[in-house]
């Protein structure tokens, strides 16, 4: 018996030492592997940076130029409309800073040259402002772009900049807004205050453009509630804070509504109505692991009516599934304005999917579908991007819609689904 135990002990010891030996060998192989890149240590004394030099003026020119080819599979409903459009887009950017970045000037231009539609051929000053940065304060004067909110299918709270409708129904393109803007960062959040002395009118496609109603919308046929017309001094204030995994914002806007409603005369003439509004907005986002919970809500008061609207939803991301991030979006939109809304988001469910391939070329995909719970009207879109080399980018985009509800704005553009391919060069 004792002998057996002894033998077991010997075997165990042998086993143990062989494990040790193999580990030693592993370490040794390891050591050989790295002989060519010996760890170099160097001591550098007196490298401590005590003084920070005040940098002189630095300037940077960047931007991109893009070619778009867009194809509408369906013939246009209205006279003059084409099926193929070629466009060139130019986005130049100039940035100047001095006094160690405490003073800066930002310029961002935009221009599109459209093959057929001379209304869609347009330029805009997206940004052009001077900014002074103090420790907690930030003061800017000029044309700016301000983005508020969290949801994807609708941007209810985002009321500062006018939509660039000529760039399509994609709600991400905005016209530059002139303003004076003060922002202060405190322990309890960031407070923004802005005064906007000038209103930017919506621009609509011309006779040869797609995505328009049968009549031509004339931005001169416009009514302002404010007696100052487009020179009404609009005001906005917002408090924004991050509390651990929660991002929260509360804002108020007083001034001329960026979103018009339409008034039809007995003769059938359309007038764009811009009323004075007081809009209070709430933005809320909570992050729990891979889930983002989102809410945007507004209360919008005008002399004509008071409306309430909200977007609520969630985004869940499956990370690193075969190196890919897979995100799913679900949002619901409610808006008191009902059929008056051009975007139709009065009682709608949005489902979307985002794929980030996390590759060298930053390939990504975003697709979504929006369904009106009441009328069944559907809009859907998809876009994909991929970098080519170091400074080129190839993009694909599609938009489609399906409606038979004659009272909706979408009915007037029901044949205007398209596919588009773009190639951009960045400089």
């Amino acid at each position: 018996m004792l002998k057996v135990k002894f033998v077991i002990l010997i075997i165990m010891l042998l086993g143990y030492s062989s494990v040790m030996i193999s580990q030693e060998i592993e370490e040794e192989i390891f050591e050989e592997e790295i002989l060519d890149e010996d760890v170099i240590s160097e001591e550098i004394e007196g490298e401590q940076q005590e003084k920070v030099k005040v940098k002189k003026l630095t300037s940077e020119l960047s931007g991109n130029i893009r070619g778009d080819y867009r194809y509408y599979p369906d013939e246009g409903l209205y006279i003059g409309q084409q099926q193929e459009y070629v466009s060139a887009v130019f986005n130049p950017e100039i940035y100047l800073e001095w006094a160690n970045g405490k003073q800066r000037i930002q310029f961002k231009g935009f221009g599109r040259l459209n093959q057929y539609d001379n209304k869609q051929t347009h330029v805009d000053l997206r940004e052009f402002y001077y900014q002074r940065v103090l420790k907690k304060w930030e003061i800017s004067i000029g044309v700016k772009q301000i983005y508020w909110g969290f949801t994807e299918s609708n941007h209810l709270v985002n009321v500062i900049n006018q939509d660039d409708v000529l760039e399509g129904n994609d709600i991400e393109n905005k016209l530059g807004q002139p303003m004076g803007h003060i922002s202060v960062s405190q322990k309890w959040g960031t407070v923004d205050f802005m005064v906007m002395p000038y209103f930017r009118k919506v621009q609509f496609p011309g006779i040869r453009g797609r995505g328009r109603p049968p009549f031509l919308l004339d931005e001169d046929n416009i009514w302002f509630e404010s007696e100052n017309e487009e020179y009404n001094p609009d005001l906005a204030i917002r408090w924004f804070h991050n509390i651990k995994s929660v991002d929260i914002g509360l804002s108020h806007f007083y001034g001329t509504s960026r979103v018009p409603f339409f008034d039809v005369s007995l003769e059938g003439d359309f007038t764009l109505m811009h009323e004075l509004i007081n809009q209070t907005g709430l933005e809320f986002q909570a992050t729990t692991g891979a889930m983002l919970w989102k809410l945007e809500a507004i209360n919008r008061v005008s002399e004509r009516k008071t409306i309430k609207a909200f977007t609520v939803g969630a985004e869940y991301t499956f990370s690193n599934v075969f190196k890919t991030d897979l995100g799913f979006l679900l949002e619901y939109n409610y808006d008191d304005r009902g059929a008056e809304l051009i975007n139709g988001l009065n009682d709608d469910v949005f489902m979307g999917m985002r794929i980030g391939f996390n590759d060298k070329q930053s390939t990504d995909f975003l697709g979504g579908i929006n369904v009106d719970a009441e009328t069944g009207t559907m809009t859907y879109f998809a876009e994909a991007n991929r970098r080519l080399g170091d400074s080129w980018k190839l993009s694909f985009k599609m938009f489609g819609l399906n409606t038979d509800t004659e009272t909706e704005f979408f009915y007037l553009i029901r044949k205007d689904g398209f596919v588009e391919a773009s190639l951009s060069k960045y400089f």
Binding site: E27, F30, E31, I34, L35, E37, D38, V39, I40, S41, E42, E43, I44, E45, E47, Q48, Q49, E50, V52, S62, N64, Y95, N100, G101, Q131, V133, K135, K136, E138, Y147, F150, S185, T190, F240, N242, K244, S245, Q285, T287, G289, A290, M291, L292, E315, T317, S319, N320, K323, D325, N358, D359, K360, Q361, S362, R387, D390, S391, K393, S424, Y426
Partner: protein, 264 residues
């Protein structure tokens, strides 16, 4: 009934204690070395640097990416950091801001200059690759002691340097790793090498630090970090340049939502 609950609760609490606090001598020593290594780097205040990232595929073709950034040491919690992308040109000006936390998920935001929009990055997205490289987000975030359990394995010689070999197991369930093996220089407690094991415990990547320099008389920083992926044959080299310490303009105010939007 009450007694059963009490017993159950105490069993659970014992189990939890066992999971959290080091039990074996190896675990105690491992934690001690990790804490000492962290303490040796305490007091760095703030740093700024530029980073060149070289991605190499199996055939040796390379692609270069550039970023610059700065970080702030936060006493009592994880560090704060800001990274701005310089190239490729289409992502120029995109900035990411991270508040690392010793316990719980980090907070991370991404600023997209084309949309003027700040987006929150869901905090469980740590195992994904950073800019198509062999580095995962979690490899580049602040390595807080609390993010791992530690175990001392042995003291070995690595490339002529005496190092402690530690095994660390990530606390987070969303980590991409089952465990990592860390080699810490015995003399100055700086990391020399890390071996990453995937969720199936297969050897995934090796990270080698080189070109160490001492800054501000005390703090060791590697000029180069080379990550080799053993499973796909690709590698990524990070080259750090222009390390600056104690810049008085880098403060808490450099990590606000406004600073993120201003980052250039």
């Amino acid at each position: 009934m009450k007694k059963t609950i009490l017993i159950a609760a105490s069993v659970v609490s014992i189990a939890l204690t066992a999971a959290i606090s080091p039990q074996t001598a190896e675990e105690k020593k491992g934690l001690e070395i990790s804490k000492k290594a962290e303490a040796a780097d305490n007091g760095w205040g703030n740093t700024s640097q530029t980073l060149t990232m070289i991605l190499k595929n199996k055939n040796g073709q390379t692609t270069t990416r550039k970023t610059h950034g700065f970080s702030l040491e936060v006493i009592g919690d994880g560090d704060k950091s800001m990274t701005v992308f310089d190239t490729p040109k289409d992502v120029q000006g995109t900035a990411s801001m991270t508040y690392t936390h010793k316990v719980g998920d980090d907070d991370q935001w991404l600023y997209l200059p084309a949309l003027k929009r700040v987006k929150r990055i869901s905090s469980s997205n740590k195992s994904g690759p950073f800019m198509g490289s062999e580095f995962a987000f979690e490899d580049l975030s602040s390595q807080e002691v609390e993010k791992y359990t530690h175990k001392y394995i042995s003291t070995v010689k690595l490339a002529g340097v005496v190092v402690y070999k530690l095994e660390r197991v990530p606390v987070s369930a969303t980590s991409g790793y089952k465990k990592i093996t860390v080699y810490i220089n015995k003399e100055n407690l700086r990391p020399e090498r890390i071996i990453f094991y995937d969720r199936k415990a297969a050897k995934l990547k090796t990270l080698v630090y080189s070109g160490y320099k001492k800054y501000a008389g005390k703090f060791w920083r590697a000029d180069q970090m080379k990550m080799v992926n053993h499973q796909n044959g690709k590698e990524t080299i990070l080259k750090f340049e222009g390390y600056k310490f104690n810049d008085p303009t880098i403060t808490e105010e450099s990590f606000t939502q406004n600073s993120l939007k201003r980052a250039k």
